[in-house]
Structure formats: C-alpha cells, structure tokens
C-alpha cells in the first residue's frame, strides 16, 4: 500500500483584496505519496502556488487540514512551523535567491546554521550537497560568477543539504533555457529516484511537468484533472 506523505483535506484559502474576498482554494483535497515527484499545473490564479505554500508550511489554510507525515502543520504555532520547515522541507525558487556576498559553499551551508553541527561537519555536508548537483569545483565561486543553471543547482544543493523529506519547487526552471531547464529537471528526477525525495513542483511548462511522475491540473482553486506521465516515479 502506498504511504501518503502529504494529505491536504478540505482546504479552503481566501485572500482579502480591499473589500473583496477572493476564494483561492475551495475544499481542495490532494494526497501525495511518499517519494513521489508531482507537478501542479494550471493558469495563473488557479491556486497552485497557494497550495505549494500551504504544503511547505509558509502559509496556513482558512479551513481544512494539511497533514504532512502524520502531523497537521496548519495548527502549529509560528515558531513550531518555522522549526518544522527547517527540519522537513527544502525550497527551490524560480529566482534562485542565493546570497550574493556568500560563496556557493556558504550559501549551501546556510540551513545547517540551524543545526548543532560543528563547522567542519557543516563544510563537509555543504560540499557533499554541491557534489551531488555537480558543482563541487565551484564551491568557492560567488553567485555572480555562476550561470543561471549553476545558480539553480546551488539552490537545489541548499534545499537538500539538511536532508529534508520534501522538496518544494516553485517554477524551478522558469528563468532557464530549454537545455539548462532539462538538466535541472533531470537533477530533480535523480534526487527523487536515488535519494527518495518527495518533490512537489509548480510549473507552467508542460515539458517540465513531463519529468514528474504525476501531473495535477488546477483551475479556480480546484483539482480538475490528473494523470501519470510514466516518468520520475520511484516506486
């Protein structure tokens, strides 16, 4: 039987814009098994990024439950939710968001500052993560000395360095050319297949989505269609 890692139950999320209340997610239910690579697609405003934020513990639903690994993260206090993110989730953003004044190695090591590891061990793990994404030899380079694809690889290394179970990827290939995007997506597939990371990705790009094991289509806050791509599932 497939073990469910993320269970989104009857989630409602609304935003207030002036006097208007916009309903973004309407009684949404999604289940994501452990070790799955799932992609959410849909038009702008469909609620996919909002769902990603809820699963990643960056936001809370107005109603419903977001149960990750058996714990309802929607009821956690801010401090607990922050600590949960540190231990459980790695984020990959479209804009990479690396610290420009830090080297690749230092950027990757950032999440490990929240652990009790010594500096030697922090360095070892950061270099291992860089090795996984193929940038061991760029450890001392600053973001400005790296290409867009390399920057995103560093961001991925930063996301996996604390060995989280869940990777949240928000348009990870949005700013990259096709070839580089394919390389990044292949890397994500590798992390899913070889390191058993559960990956939740939001994308507008059908070719990017095709790398996922399952693609879920959203519109107006509801799940409208889902299908297996046949690729990227490590089960």
């Amino acid at each position: 039987m497939t073990e469910i890692l993320v269970d989104v139950q009857h989630v409602v999320k609304r935003y207030r814009r002036g006097t208007h209340v916009i309903s973004v997610l309407n009684e949404l239910n999604v289940q994501i098994p452990r070790k799955e690579f799932v992609a959410f697609m849909g038009p702008s405003g469909s609620g996919k990024s909002t769902l990603l934020n809820l699963i990643g513990g960056l936001d809370r639903p107005d109603q419903g439950h977001v149960i990750v690994d058996g714990a309802d993260i929607a009821v956690l206090a801010d401090r607990q939710l922050t600590a949960w993110r540190a231990a459980f989730v790695g984020f990959v953003f479209q804009a990479y968001n690396l610290m420009p004044s830090l080297s690749a190695e230092q950027n990757v090591a950032l999440p490990l500052l929240l652990t009790r590891l010594g500096s030697a061990e922090i360095r070892r793990r950061a270099l291992t993560a860089l090795d996984i994404v193929g940038l061991f030899d760029r450890a001392k380079h600053r973001p400005t000395e790296l290409s867009g694809g390399q920057e995103q690889r560093v961001a991925i290394a930063r996301a996996i360095v604390s060995d989280p179970q869940l990777l949240i990827c928000d348009e990870p290939t949005g700013g990259l050319d096709r070839k580089t995007a394919d390389e990044i997506l292949s890397l994500l597939e590798l992390l899913n297949r070889d390191l058993a990371k559960t990956i939740v990705m939001v994308t507008h790009d059908p070719k990017a989505a095709s790398h996922a094991g399952r693609v879920l289509h959203m519109d107006k806050g509801l799940m409208i269609e889902q299908g297996q791509t046949g690729e990227g599932v490590s089960q």
């Binding site: 990024s49 934020n53 990643g56 960056l58 936001d59 801010d78 401090r79 922050t82 600590a83 949960w84 993110r85 540190a86 231990a87 984020f91 953003f93 479209q94 804009a95 968001n97 610290m99 420009p100 004044s101 830090l102 190695e105 230092q106 090591a109 950032l110 999440p111 490990l112 500052l113 929240l114 500096s119 922090i122 360095r123 950061a126 930063r158």
Partner: protein, 382 residues
C-alpha cells in the same frame, strides 16, 4: 559558515556603502574621542580631591589679589581643617612659545593636594632650597628638564628686585595621582618669590581651604565670605568643582558648546547609520524571507539585523577612537595643556554605550519590518 560570517557577508554586500558609512561613523567617534575627555575634564576637575576643597578668590576680579593674612584668618574659622595659598607667577620660558602654568606655593600646598605625587625628599629639598622648583612630568619630558637643572623665567607680572630674569633650580619632578593633575605645571618656592618680588609682597591669587569632616562646604563658603564682607578685600569662595565650572563658563561655556557639538555629531551619525541599515535591509527583505522559509526563526533574523547594525557602528568606532587617541598623543607634544586629557575608562565606557544605543536605534526600523514580514507576500515578489 557561521552566524558571524552571515553578519559579515551582510555588511560587505555593498562594500562602497559600508565603507562610506564606516568612515562617517569613524569621523564621529574621532570627535567623541577628542572632545569627550575634554568635556569630562571640564565637568570632573575638582571632584577628584579628597573631602571638600574650597578656593577663595578676590570678589570683584580674578586678576586682583588677596592679602596672605586672609589665610591666617580662614585657618582659624570653625570647620576649616587646612589652609594654603598660591600665586600665579606667569613669566616667559625660553622662546616664549612654551606656555605652561607656573605657581608660587608654600610647603602647605602639597599636603592639601595629595593628588600631586611628590616624594618626601623632594618636599624637604623644596623647603630648604630657596630657589627650588618642582616640575610636572609632562613639562620635564617635553623640555628635557631634570633635577639639578636651572630654569630661567623672564617676568611679565612679577619683576624681581634686581629687575633680572628669575632663576629656579629644579629639585624634583611630580606625577599625578589622577587625570585632573596638570602635569605641565611648575611650582616654585613661595617664600623666595615673596621676598624677591619687586612689588606686591604678601599678595596671593587664591587661598585653598579644606573643609573639616562634619561640616558642609556651603556652610564654610558662607562663613569665609561673611568674614571678609565689607572689607577692602572681599572674597568669593567656591568649591573647586564650581570654580572650575565658573572658569569654563567665563570662556563661553565650553562644556555646553562641546555637549552641543557632540550631540549634533551623535544625532547625525544615528541618522546616517539608520539610513544605511534601513536601505540595506529594504533591498534584502526578500533574502530574509528566504531565510525564514529555510527555517530561520523571526528572532534570529532580527538578531542578524541588530548584529549587522552594531557591527557597522563598531567598525567605525574602533578606528575613530584609535585615531583620536593618536591625535591626542601627538597633540600633547605640541600643546602642553592637553596633558591629563586622555581617553580613559569613562570615555571608553561612554563610547561603548553610544555604539550600543546607535546600533540598536538604527536597527529598530528594519527589526520592526521583519516583525511584520508576511512570508508569502515577500516571496511572491521574487
């Protein structure tokens, strides 16, 4: 990678801006280091003596003199423990460019001023050598004076009976027990001075009186001044602290001027630092949102901002204070009046307090912004 490294990287994200801010903070602390000790001297001189020491001066003008007999009268007043006196000698030493205080004092002057450190042997020599003089360590070092040297002073107030230059023999060098002691001063033997001066025998500039235990300074001040009321030589008595303050106020309330200058400097520095920190944080709000997404607690990001702010101020404060210490050191070689003005613990403690206050004040706005940071909204801007 460490928390310290993270603070450092934030500081050097825009090196040009950090360097310029550091330079302006360093300039401010240079002024604090230069003027702070001067302000403390103005406010603190006279507080350093043991007990309450009084200075009696002519009532109507500080350039007048008092008859030395007043000292005898004062010494007999109830509540007065010890009495001494001093007369401003003035004179010109060598080329006339060398200005330092010269006082004619009797033996009783030194026991009344224990902060002037001078050996019993030297005091004995001073008492037995009519032309004896004791020179402050700073002046001795500046002019290479040593015991046995003869010092010639051309008179400008006090001509002697031979209408020649005065000559004194250095019998000792004195040190200071605290920073209030003027190590540029020179004390000459009052008995010799009084006998040999061409005019004004028995006239003194000030009378010093020590208040006995169990009596208040105010009570004795009134008692002394009322003793000479309606005489031809009325007195104006004050504590040494009030005397020093009054002297400073005659020069245009220097203390207030220095306070205003330092206040303006601090205010400007606070604005500059706060502006730099606020700009830097505004640009990096998204970075802080990413850190929060990674699992950095809100308090940790706020501590990072406060740490950067404090480090920025400290980065300017240290070279500024070192610069002022060097300038004061250099200045002492050319301006003997700067002797005793040093960057001591009170100035350093005040500087540390200023670093803390300015650093935390500058961090206030970005820290509050981080408190209100909406993670999802900030990440959406990326």
């Amino acid at each position: 990678m460490s928390w310290f490294g993270l603070v450092r990287s934030g500081l050097w994200r825009r090196p040009g801006r950090t360097l310029l801010t550091t330079f302006s903070v360093a300039s401010a602390f240079l002024l604090i280091g230069l003027f702070g000790p001067v302000l403390m001297v103005f406010e603190g001189r006279g507080e350093t003596s043991e007990g309450n020491r009084l200075i009696v001066q002519p009532r109507h003008s500080t350039t007048d003199f008092l008859p030395v007999n007043h000292a005898m009268v004062i010494s007999k007043l109830p509540g007065v423990r010890d009495v001494s006196y001093q007369t401003w000698f003035g004179g010109t030493f060598r080329d006339g460019e060398n200005s330092f205080a010269r006082w004619a004092v009797p033996d009783s002057f030194f026991p009344l001023h224990p902060e002037i450190i001078v050996s019993p042997d030297t005091l004995e020599l001073m008492a037995t050598t009519r032309t004896g003089a004791i020179v402050g360590r700073r002046t001795a070092e500046l002019f290479g004076l040593k015991v046995g040297d003869r010092v010639a002073l051309v008179p400008d107030i006090w001509s002697n009976k031979d209408m020649n230059a005065w000559e004194f023999d250095v019998v000792g060098i004195f040190d200071g027990g605290n920073s209030s002691v003027d190590l540029t001063a020179m004390y000459i033997n009052y008995a010799f001075f009084d006998e040999y001066r061409a005019w004004g025998t028995g006239l003194v500039s000030y009378i010093n009186a020590d208040v006995d235990v169990g009596h208040s300074a105010g009570e004795i001040v009134d008692r002394i001044d009322s003793s000479f009321a309606n005489s031809s030589d009325e007195t104006n008595t004050s504590t040494e602290r009030d005397f020093a303050l009054g002297f400073a106020q005659q020069l245009g309330d220097i203390g207030l001027m220095i306070s205003v200058i330092l206040g303006s400097v601090l205010f400007t520095m606070a604005l500059v630092t706060a502006n730099t920190i606020a700009h830097g944080m505004h640009e990096r709000m998204a970075e802080f949102a990413v850190l929060r997404a990674m699992g950095f607690q809100r308090l940790a990001t706020q501590a990072l901002v406060a740490g950067e702010s404090l480090a920025l101020v400290l980065l300017g404060a240290v070279p500024g204070l070192i610069g002022s210490a060097l300038l004061l050191g250099l200045g002492r070689d050319f301006v003997p009046q700067l002797a005793g003005i040093t960057i001591g613990f009170p100035t350093l403690a005040a500087a540390a307090g200023i670093v803390l206050c300015i650093g935390l004040l500058a961090a206030c706005h970005p820290v509050l912004r981080l408190k209100r940071l909406k993670l999802v909204d900030e990440l959406r801007k990326l």
